[in-house]
């Protein structure tokens, strides 16, 4: 629910890298059309599948690279702890907000960048909601944050399958799913 404080002060080069990675991320998201209100709402209405195609491909490509580099000892994983109740309740609340605003926190920045000024109202809401959560963070952490706490867990660990085998099988499943979605959707 809450991350560990970053005690290490980031170097200037890391700050610059963050900025560059952000620029590339924002550029890609805008070119992918996910700063557009109708594409995001279209996905939630199950008419336009652009968002699922982007996320599906990103997960496929990202997963293969990250787990390959992890197996070589080149990267550390960054998993969020599984807290079933907080994940479900928080996820549904997030989803309700997502449906209302259409922009999610990341694509809201893209919408703002391309001149969709209603994104400013979403931004006000996002800042207010962050404060509201902070107001309740103590209570929530002692309550819902403890329900169904399984710690950091991956799907292969949960299913007791070797990680490498899981990644290969899951990559094939994702390719199949992306192909099927591509066949059965107009956009």
């Amino acid at each position: 629910m809450t991350e560990k404080p970053h005690t290490k002060k980031p170097s200037l080069s890391q700050l610059m890298l963050g900025l560059i990675f952000g620029i590339v991320f924002g550029f890609l998201l805008q070119k992918g059309g996910v700063g557009k209100y109708h594409i995001l709402t279209g996905q939630l209405l199950l008419v336009d599948f652009t968002v699922v195609k982007i996320i599906g491909t990103a997960v496929l490509v990202g997963m293969i690279g990250i787990f390959t580099m992890h197996a070589m000892g080149r990267v550390k994983l960054h998993l969020k702890p599984t807290r079933v109740a907080a994940n479900i309740v928080g996820g549904l609340i997030f989803g309700a907000g997502f449906g209302l605003s259409a922009y999610c926190p990341g694509t809201n920045l893209v919408a703002l960048g391309q001149g969709n000024w209603d994104a400013l109202a979403v931004t006000v809401g996002l800042i207010a909601g962050s404060w509201l959560f902070a107001e309740m963070s103590g209570t929530l952490q002692r309550g819902i944050g403890k329900w169904g706490d399984f710690g950091k867990k991956t799907l292969p660990e949960l299913l007791h399958v070797p990680r490498g085998a899981f990644v290969v099988i899951f990559a094939l499943v994702l390719v199949g799913a992306l192909y099927a979605i591509g066949q059965f959707t107009i956009r």
């Binding site: 805008q30 195609k53 990341g106 979403v122 809401g125 207010a128 799907l155």
Partner: protein
């Protein structure tokens, strides 16, 4: 109370069957500039780079909490000092904050080069559904939507980027549960807005 709950569960499901057509059909408006597969692959490769060179994952929602923290330091420093979240996560300009502002810059560049600057308050599809004079309604819905998203993201531990992309690609159980709930909640709410 039970009836309300039932309505909340049943209405969106029933609404899913209803047609969207004409001005409210999302397909009547412009598609993405680039292939979604190309963009997705690019984001996948970008995630390799953030892990390898910055030991970080892509995410966006915590940037808004940082902004809230900075505003708190100015307007309500004593109140803020008492809050657990800001004790654990004091607002600081870090890698994630730079990423956050970078996203806006990248979007400006992409929209500029692609001739996709919109410069409008009401999205076209919203206007087709709720009318040209629905500015106040859009503002209310957008502020509420934003507030729910930020609260939900902090509770769940991430947003569509942090959980939906970065977490799911690491096969994190928390992220797959959260991402599924993002879409369940989103589909239900969008159906209520556009299909009833």
């Amino acid at each position: 109370m039970n009836r309300t709950l039932l309505a909340i569960l049943i209405l969106p499901t029933a609404a899913l069957g209803a047609e969207v057509s004409g001005g409210t059909d999302p397909l009547n408006y412009s598609g993405p500039a680039w292939s979604p597969y190309l963009v997705g692959a690019g984001i996948g490769v970008l995630s390799w780079l953030t892990f390898a060179f910055s030991d970080q994952r892509l995410g966006a929602s915590s940037g808004y909490a940082t902004l809230a923290g900075y505003l708190g330091e100015i307007f309500a420093p004593r109140r803020m000092a008492s809050l657990r979240y800001f004790k654990d996560n004091p607002p600081k300009i870090g890698w994630g904050t730079m990423l956050f502002f970078g996203i806006v810059i990248g979007a400006v560049l992409a929209a500029w080069t692609g001739g996709e600057m919109t410069n409008r308050y009401l999205p076209q599809m919203w206007e087709a559904r709720f009318g040209a004079d629905s500015g106040l309604l859009r503002t209310l819905v957008a502020v509420c939507g934003g507030a729910l998203m930020a609260f939900g993201a902090r509770l769940a531990g991430g947003c569509t980027s942090g959980h939906g992309i970065s977490g799911t690609l690491q096969l994190s159980v928390s992220s797959w549960i959260s991402a599924a709930c993002f879409f369940i909640g989103g589909i239900a709410t969008a159906s209520l807005l556009y299909r009833l």
